[in-house]
């Protein structure tokens, strides 16, 4: 197989031809923040705007999930311009996220916490106004609880339900700030065609979809272990 060699943060790595920079970095132990990237997806979602990197010869930062590796490419994940954009995106997400980690079942298993630590962004940043959506929590499903207020709209649950399992209970609705993951006709999950597989909760990177009675931190720890 013909590979491509490139440099990320000074480290020379080999990647599969056609691979995106994000996966090449992650596979080689170089972390780039991301919320919406799905390795199996046919095209990058590119919605979270967190995986900004700087590539030599490029005009301005680019998202690592959409850039294909090229021979001799030099990538910098720590560039100040890229970090500024990633920090802004994260601060925006946190400003519209009920940050109440102590009472959140996803505490310590939350990607927002991980990324905030990585980017050195406080969990309660002061720069923006706190704008929350105040939507009702849906606990009608026997399997999981859905709190749309915590949702970062990464689309992973929609992808799992729709593309991977072809069930299609979950989808996006509304535009702009009102955009939300919901069921057809905005019905409670229990009244939808939900099969109760819980895959949506498994892929949710934050505390928006959480399996009932399961500690998310422990569960994700166990999943990580079983993968090894």
């Amino acid at each position: 197989m013909n590979g491509v060699s490139l440099t990320i943060d000074g480290k020379r790595i080999k990647a599969r031809k056609g691979e995106k920079v994000l996966w090449a970095a992650l596979d080689n132990g170089i972390y780039i923040p991301n919320l919406c990237a799905i390795p199996e997806a046919s095209a990058p979602f590119a919605g979270c705007r967190l995986c900004f990197v700087e590539i030599e010869g490029r005009n301005g930062p680019v998202t690592a999930c959409t850039e294909t590796v090229e021979e001799g490419m030099t990538v910098n994940t720590q560039g100040p311009k890229a970090q500024r954009l990633a920090r802004t995106a994260l601060e925006l997400l946190l400003a519209s996220h009920p940050v109440d980690c102590a009472h959140c079942p996803a505490n310590r298993a939350c990607e927002l916490q991980k990324i905030a630590f990585h980017l050195r962004v406080k969990l309660k940043p002061k720069r923006f106004r706190k704008i929350e959506r105040e939507l009702p929590i849906d606990s009608s499903s026997p399997v999981f609880t859905y709190d749309p207020n915590k949702c970062v709209l990464c689309g992973k649950c929609v992808w799992a339900c729709r593309e991977q399992l072809s069930i299609g209970v979950l989808g996006f609705a509304q535009r702009g700030f009102k955009r939300v993951v919901t069921t057809f006709d905005n019905r409670p999950i229990a009244e939808s065609n939900c099969q109760g597989c819980g895959d949506c909760a498994a892929v949710c990177p934050v505390g928006a979809m959480v399996l009932k009675g399961v500690n998310k931190a422990r569960a994700s720890h166990a999943r990580a272990k079983s993968r090894e």
Binding site: A43, G47, R49, R84, T88, R175, G176, F177, K178
Partner: protein, 640 residues
């Protein structure tokens, strides 16, 4: 790519053309008067259908044989409904602001009688010795009509009219050429995409033409959604065949077999007229299989968008066409490489495509002789807002904003002062008086912080608050943002909240810095063009009207007296007339009362600032004024 031309193409078209010409000549055979009524959306809104009916009724009453034709929009939307009368032996006359009453009189006095009714006329449509010509109006010194040429002069629902005016001749000519030769002609013309960004048209065609993958598609982007823009609608309603002809030529060049016109469902008349045009073109063999008898096949379907603004973005448009939610995708791959159904897809704006037949007809040199160094040809603008002559205008690139607004548009109504012009819709910006002498082209506007966009031009006067204008456009983008990416969904929301606070007098000086920071990051970090340009209205108003922002924040004062929370209504006691109580009666919340002296006083706590008292106060008194900040209202004396 192969050549489709076969010898018979020429003769096939000659037959079609001679038939069309004979139809056209029959219309103007000099025996009967021809009455044309502009019945596009602008005309209909002003009552053109009623005028049309009145003319028909009046003719029927007198058993008069005249030909009545529905035509498109000449661009003089301010004077709608517009009627054109050609009476044999007389110069062709245009009449504006026609009511049903005037229409009946025109039939009686001019069509039947001999009174040319000068008082209702805008002028003659041809040079003559008797009547002043409409072309002597100052605006015509600046206008140059290329794609608006037919608009208002032909029946958009009759293909023969278009053909008689030289239509589809370019297609017949193009089919005799190699695609490469046509591309070269377009390259030399310097045509750039009229959708807003101004990408060289030939380059897009070349990329699509060279892309592997079959079948290929050509899409006409008619998803015009900017507030205040109506150029594409007017062209589709007035001259749909020019767009279709442009599409067929483009398809021939890139080797496409299928085409779509993506038009918003909110344009029902455009949809209706395009449908008719497609049917007629197909019937004459100008569309479909074996076009003009050659071996080139191409057909067009019409697709109605559901009104999402973001669907004007090409990747979102394609998603919508495929039946998926209209969400943009990361580019590259560009649609010219991988578009509809993953196949190479050429997407061009309505106006871009309408230029193509004209360029093929008159040559690249003719087209590039108009315009500036980098932007060739003309620009079409929809003039709206505080301008006397609202409507459409086509001017050479390089015309200044002053010429467009003050000469073509005849300036600001009611003696008000010009403040700014908003160009390019929610992606564009507001340019101040100091920019009026800027020659308009793609690059000059971008440099000034605005954008050609699709060509909407909203004129603002001294009564418009620039912070409020920025807030309005940002509210529009926020509402129309698809919500997929963080920067646009949440970034514009944060900016909107800040602007909301400023217009309500709750702003802080640090907010201006945050606006700048946000604007920079949203521009650099958004997924698609909607987000990347969304901060422009804020950035340009900050750049040119920062003093207004500061007045709102520091003094809680709205200089234009527009922001409701920062103004108060006040009745000047020295101007108020004791015996008049026009304001008292109209006040919706009973906030106005008379004091002992008969002078009217507004109870500021009850007042909801609805503006009715100001309108009700008779002009000879003009006693009601707006004050900003509201604290300027003198404390009421003797109040308990």
């Amino acid at each position: 790519m192969k050549i489709a031309g076969v010898p018979e193409t020429d003769s096939t078209f000659e037959l079609i053309k001679s038939h069309a010409l004979s139809q056209w000549q029959e219309l103007y055979d000099g025996t009967k008067p021809v009455i044309m009524v502009g019945t596009t959306t602008c005309g209909r809104a002003a009552g053109a259908l009623e005028v049309l009916q009145a003319i028909r009724d009046e003719l029927a009453k007198d058993h008069l044989d005249a030909r009545v034709v529905e035509v498109g929009c000449m661009g003089h939307c301010y004077a709608e409904p517009l009627v054109i009368i050609s009476k044999p032996g007389h110069p062709t006359m245009a009449y504006g602001y026609v009511t049903t009453e005037i229409a009946r009189r025109l039939v009686k006095d001019y069509v039947i009688g001999e009174d040319i009714s000068l008082e209702f006329s805008l002028g003659a449509l041809e040079e003559n010795d008797l009547i002043p010509s409409i072309y002597d109006l100052p605006r015509f010194a600046y206008e140059k009509q290329i794609i608006l040429e037919n608009c208002g002069h032909i029946d958009p629902e009759d293909i023969d009219h278009y053909i008689a005016k030289g239509g589809y001749e370019s297609l017949a000519k193009a089919l005799q050429m190699q695609p490469q030769e046509i591309m070269e002609e377009i390259r030399r013309s310097g045509l750039r995409g009229r959708g807003g960004a101004g990408f060289p048209t030939w380059q897009k065609w070349e990329i699509c033409g060279n892309s592997r993958g079959r079948p290929k598609y050509v899409i006409c982007n008619a998803d015009e959604g900017d507030p205040g823009a109506f150029m594409d609608r007017a062209i589709l309603e007035s001259d749909p065949h020019s767009v279709i002809e442009g599409m067929v030529i483009a398809a021939y060049v890139v080797g496409a077999r299928h085409g779509y016109i993506y038009v918003r469902a909110e344009y029902p008349l455009a949809v209706h007229r395009v449908r008719i045009a497609l049917r007629q073109a197909r019937r004459l063999g100008l569309l479909g299989k074996n076009i003009l008898g050659g071996d080139f096949n191409f057909d067009i379907k019409l697709f109605q968008g559901s009104g999402a603004f973001v669907c004007g973005e090409e990747t979102a448009l394609i998603a919508s066409l495929e039946g998926r939610p209209g969400l943009p995708q990361h580019r590259p791959p560009f649609p010219a490489v991988s578009g509809l159904n993953g196949k190479p897809t050429l997407i061009d704006n309505v106006k871009t495509l309408a230029y193509v037949p004209r360029i093929m007809m008159n040559g690249a040199a003719w087209f590039s002789s108009t315009g500036t160094e980098e932007s060739k040809g003309t620009a079409v603008f929809a003039l709206a807002g505080k301008v006397v002559n609202t409507g459409l205008t086509e001017v050479p690139m390089g015309t200044t904003l002053r010429q467009v607004i003050f000469d073509v548009g005849a300036g600001i109504p009611n003696g008000k002062r010009f403040k700014a012009v908003q160009i390019g819709g929610p992606s564009g910006g507001c340019l101040p008086e100091s920019a009026l002498d800027l020659p308009i082209d793609f690059d000059s506007l971008t440099e000034a912080g605005a954008m050609m966009g699709s060509g909407g031009m909203v004129v603002l006067d001294e009564d418009d608050c620039m912070v409020e204008v920025a807030r309005y456009f940002l509210e529009f983008t926020q509402r129309e943002s698809c919500g997929k990416c963080t920067m646009c969904r949440l970034g514009t929301k944060q900016m909107l909240e800040i602007l909301d606070d400023i217009t309500k007098g709750r702003g802080r000086m640090e907010d201006i810095d945050t606006l700048y920071e946000m604007a920079e990051d949203i521009k650099a970090g958004s997924l698609c063009g909607l987000g990347k340009t969304a901060p422009n209205p804020v950035l340009t108003t900050l750049r040119y009207f920062r003093d207004e922002y500061e007045a709102h924040i520091k003094e809680r004062r709205c200089p234009a007296h527009m922001c409701r929370d920062l103004i108060a209504y006040y009745i000047l006691p020295e101007k108020c007339e004791r015996s008049c109580d026009a304001c008292v009666g109209t006040c919706t919340v009973e906030a106005i009362s008379s004091n002992k002296k008969g002078i009217k006083v507004i109870d500021q706590e009850k007042c909801v600032k609805c503006n009715t008292c100001l309108q009700a106060c008779p002009p000879q008194y003009n006693a009601v004024i707006k004050l900003s900040p509201p604290e300027l209202v003198p404390a009421a004396k003797g109040k308990k």
